[in-house]
């Protein structure tokens, strides 16, 4: 009776001499319908209840969420077993009850997604325009929850299939129907005579569940932000410095500066340039402001200087010289030697910059340990010293605080203290005051200025704010669409800008003298990948001529500044007129 695979019976025969292949095929229908029954109940309960809870909120939400939480703490198998007892083994009842017990998981997911939609502007707008609630739910809410629901449904489909197979395997679900689980149950009774019979149903179930899982993953990946998925590793690949024709000759020797960026190119891994040919220098104790509208590549420049470009973005050429040594050429190892000890960094959002599950003291302790401060008592002393250096009034208490217990301004001071722990010579500050209150902003700026005077720190300050440039910068590097368009001393950039972009930015804000914010200009910064061949500012420039769009404009030296413009003279004349 029992036979292995043969030409006649591709998957062999079972104990009664029946063809296994045809029994497997015959088993598809009851197996799939069992899983489908559970899935239908799962969706029919989960979607509406989740949408109501998330979208309506209030009492409905409370009741539904409570009941769902309660149901989640019941092991489903046991209820299903009870149902099997009381329904005398009726498969529909068992699978439907599994659907009911699985639904709370879906309710949670759908609830979260619908609540997010509710809070979004377009629904508010739709409400105002008088669209009925039902239509909002149908269009906006359903569109948003589609992704998570497909993922949950594919996972639950797999669970239901496994569950159904398990129950049939035990012979608890209508044993006469040849589901895959029941076929395996039969196989297990003859396991000592033939192991082959185990293979077809096992492989069939595994592959089906696997296929459902892949479906869910594919849907998730399609909706996920591809940039975030890319690994940080990409940025560490050693980039081959590419020599550029434009400006090498005009640039000073990197070894005269503590930090020199030379012809730096940063691309996405798919090859779209984000910044091109960036060069500037920072002398010891100097403050350089990197200025421009958002989307010009300022932050990417700062991160590239630290070798910390995010996943999917890499240095494609050029060099970052620290004390005359090229970190890009030295690769991740060179960067690792310099980060913390030579280069420090503080970020835009101080609250997010600290690890929420570690105390301030733990942050400082970890960094000081890396710097070889031996005993824990010495580290504690140095930590207190650092905190008082950044003017924290109650350092003992702050050491024991978690990030959520302190204010944004204090968090930024702590970020600075962490950065200072390794006594770096250059501090890269990416819009360090943007997220803070106005009064706190000036405190942080004067702290940075003070630290600079006491420690000889050089500061690379990324900023939107001309007022900051006027207050503490020695020089300004103006960026536009991934290019450096002007490098000028702070005292001349306001009175005699040499690039039309700088001039337009300054002109657009009449209150520039009183530390105004960087104004927005008409038109937009062209996105990376969409840059014109010639001058990237041409589309928004009043002085543009045909020549401007013909070829790449080099950085041209004027008396005080460097400017990437063909008509610097016209700008001067205009100013005088």
């Amino acid at each position: 009776m029992l036979q292995g695979p043969s030409a006649e019976h591709w998957l062999g025969t079972d104990t009664l001499g029946r063809d296994v292949l045809s029994r497997m095929l015959y088993g598809i229908s009851p197996t799939a319908s069992g899983a489908a029954q559970a899935l239908i109940v799962f969706l029919a309960l989960g979607i509406p209840l989740g949408v109501i809870a998330g979208y309506r909120g209030g009492l409905a939400d409370q009741v539904i969420s409570r009941v769902a939480d309660l149901a989640l703490s019941i092991p489903p198998i046991i209820i299903v077993l009870v149902v099997i007892v009381v329904s005398a083994g009726r498969p529909v009842a068992a699978m439907a009850s599994l659907g009911v017990l699985g639904a709370p998981g879906l309710i949670r997911v759908v609830r979260a997604a619908s609540a997010a939609v509710r809070d979004e502007l377009f629904v508010t707008a739709a409400k105002v325009s008088g669209v009925s609630q039902l239509r909002i739910m149908r269009t906006h809410v359903l569109r948003r929850i589609r992704g998570p629901v497909v993922v949950q449904a594919s996972l639950f489909g797999g669970v239901a299939l496994l569950f159904q197979a398990g129950l049939s395997f035990l012979g608890l679900l209508d044993p006469d129907r040849p589901t895959w689980g029941a076929i395996m149950g039969e196989a297990s009774t003859v396991i000592t005579q033939s192991q082959w019979l185990l293979i077809p149903p096992g492989v069939a179930i595994t592959l089906t569940v696997l296929a459902l899982g892949f479906l869910g993953d594919a849907v998730r990946d399609a909706s996920a932000d591809t940039d975030a998925v890319a690994t940080a590793k990409a940025s560490r690949e050693a980039a081959s410095p590419r020599t550029s024709t434009a400006t090498s000759a005009a640039l000073p020797d990197p070894s005269d500066y503590v930090l020199s960026v030379r012809e730096l190119h940063v691309h996405t891994t798919s090859g779209v340039p984000l910044i091109t040919d960036i060069s500037f220098d920072l002398a010891a104790g100097e403050t350089v402001g990197l200025v421009g509208e958002s989307g010009c590549g300022k932050s990417i420049t700062a991160l590239a200087v630290l070798g910390l470009t995010p996943g999917g973005i890499r240095i494609a050429g050029g060099g970052v010289y620290f004390d005359g040594t090229d970190l890009v050429a030295g690769g991740e190892a060179a960067y690792r030697r310099i980060r913390g000890s030579g280069l420090g960094y503080i970020s835009q959002d101080p609250m997010a910059a600290l690890d929420p599950v570690h105390t301030v003291g733990s942050h400082l302790n970890e960094v000081l340990k890396l710097r070889g401060v031996g005993s824990s008592a010495a580290r504690r002393e140095r930590a207190l010293e650092l905190l008082s250096q950044v003017h924290i009034a109650d350092p003992q208490r702050v050491l024991k605080s978690y990030p959520h217990q302190i204010s944004g301004g204090m968090a930024q001071r702590i970020s600075i203290a962490i950065a200072l722990a390794g006594r770096p010579r250059v501090l890269v500050a990416d819009e360090p005051t943007t997220a803070l209150d106005v009064t706190v902003q000036s405190e942080i700026l004067s702290l940075l200025h003070e630290l600079q005077e006491t420690t000889g720190l050089a500061l690379l300050l990324i900023t939107h704010d001309w007022g900051v440039v006027a207050d503490i910068c020695d020089r300004a590097v103006v960026m536009y669409a991934g290019d450096v368009v002007e490098v000028a001393p702070a005292h001349t950039v306001f009175t005699a800008p040499t690039h039309p972009y700088t001039a337009a930015l300054l002109a657009a804000d009449p209150s520039i003298e009183h530390s105004g914010r960087l104004p927005t200009l008409p038109g937009r910064v062209p996105a990376p990948g969409l840059w014109p061949q010639g001058c990237r500012f041409a589309a928004r420039c009043r002085l543009a001529t045909e020549a401007c769009s013909e070829a790449r404009v080099p950085l041209i030296k004027t008396s005080e500044a460097l400017s990437r413009c063909l008509h610097t003279d016209l700008l001067k004349l205009e100013k005088r007129a």
Binding site: S73, I74, P75, P76, I77, I78, I79, L81, V82, V83, V85, V86, S87, A88, R90, G158, A165, G166, F169, L170, G171, L172, M184, A187, S188, I191, L198, G202, I205, T206, V209, G213, D217, T231, A232, L303, L306, L308, R339, G340, S341, G344, Y345, I346, S347, A352, A353, L354, D355, P356, V357, H358, T359, V367, L370, Y402, S415, I418, A419, G422
Partner: protein, 312 residues
């Protein structure tokens, strides 16, 4: 902390009431009843009615429930319809095997799953391998895996006993040997989910801005993952470990049957097949109490890893 514990234990009482009442209600709502299944498929309506009266199943559901509840409060969960043994006695005797199995599987899943997940979070081929392995681990039916392992390791090689259970008190080494195959089987799907969740949660944590601060301060990648990313990922990881434990209860029902372990799951199946309602009700209560205890432990662990929970 004690206050927190007491509050959580008190909050668990309604859950027990709801679950036990729901079980009773199911009996009333769902067509068919235990008396019919006990009397057998070929029983006449009179015979069924007689069984029903004997068992007291002809009384209103709520009287039955109140009755049951009254004794349950005194620790008496009734007697089995089939063998007349006290339910608690029968279940206590079988608690050891189930708990050994489930705790063993959860510990294995937590340790192996978190390790794999962390390795996978570093990306590259290792990440893809962990992804693929966890998908397969999730998709393989446990009972099938159990049979395959039995065939390979118990029948062919005879490295482990295929069936049966030796209590810890009797012989620790044989206890381990008798649990090895069941625990491995049960741990495979659990490890898959823990690895997957860990990988995603650690990768997410590695995208957070504080990681940049740490990198910029020169903290090595390894330390960032071990000290920061993993700790930030603790809440989802603990959640999945808790869910894994509850899932292992379900798996245990199958696994105990296959390996002939004298546990609660096996009891549940035989009781189900025999329609022994008091015994099933007892298993429901035992399972629910276990779940409540696990959820409580998970909550305590949240507080340990998340300073914000601790303060409030």
């Amino acid at each position: 902390m004690t206050r927190f514990l007491v509050r959580r234990v008190v909050a668990a009482v309604p859950l027990l009431l709801v679950v036990s009442a729901a079980t009773f209600l199911l009996v009333a709502l769902v067509p068919g009843d235990a008396a019919r299944s006990i009397a057998g498929r070929n029983a006449t309506p009179e015979q069924v009615a007689q069984v029903r009266t004997e068992l007291g199943l002809d009384r209103p559901v709520w009287t039955q429930y109140i009755d049951w509840l009254g004794s349950a409060i005194n620790g008496d969960l009734g007697t089995s319809l089939i063998n007349q043994q006290a339910v608690t006695e029968q279940l206590n005797a079988r608690l050891g095997a189930t708990m050994s199995l489930i705790i063993g599987a959860t510990v294995v899943a937590a340790v192996v799953g978190v390790t794999l997940g962390v390795l996978g979070a570093r990306g590259g081929w290792l990440g893809r391998t962990v992804d693929a392995a966890s998908l397969i681990g999730f998709a393989v039916p446990t009972f099938w895996l159990a049979l395959v392992l039995v065939v390979l390791l118990a029948v062919k090689v005879a490295a482990f006993p295929a069936l049966g259970y030796t209590p810890l008190g009797q012989s620790p080494s044989q206890w381990m040997a008798s649990l090895f195959l069941p625990v491995v089987t049960l741990a495979v799907p659990a490890t898959a989910s823990v690895a997957k969740v860990t990988r995603d949660a650690v990768s997410d944590a590695m995208q957070r801005p504080f990681v940049r601060t740490l990198r910029a301060a020169g903290v090595p990648e390894r330390a960032i993952i071990a000290r920061h990313a993993l700790k930030n990922a603790a809440v989802p990881i603990l959640t999945i470990v808790g869910l894994t434990f509850i899932g292992a209860l379900t798996g245990a029902v199958l696994i105990e049957q296959i390996f002939a372990l004298p546990g609660l799951g096996g009891t549940a199946v035989t009781a189900t097949a025999a329609g022994d309602l008091p015994l099933i009700q007892g298993v429901v209560i035992y399972f629910t109490v276990i779940v409540i205890a696990v959820n409580l432990l998970v909550d305590l662990a949240y507080a340990f890893f998340n300073p914000r929970v601790r303060v409030s």
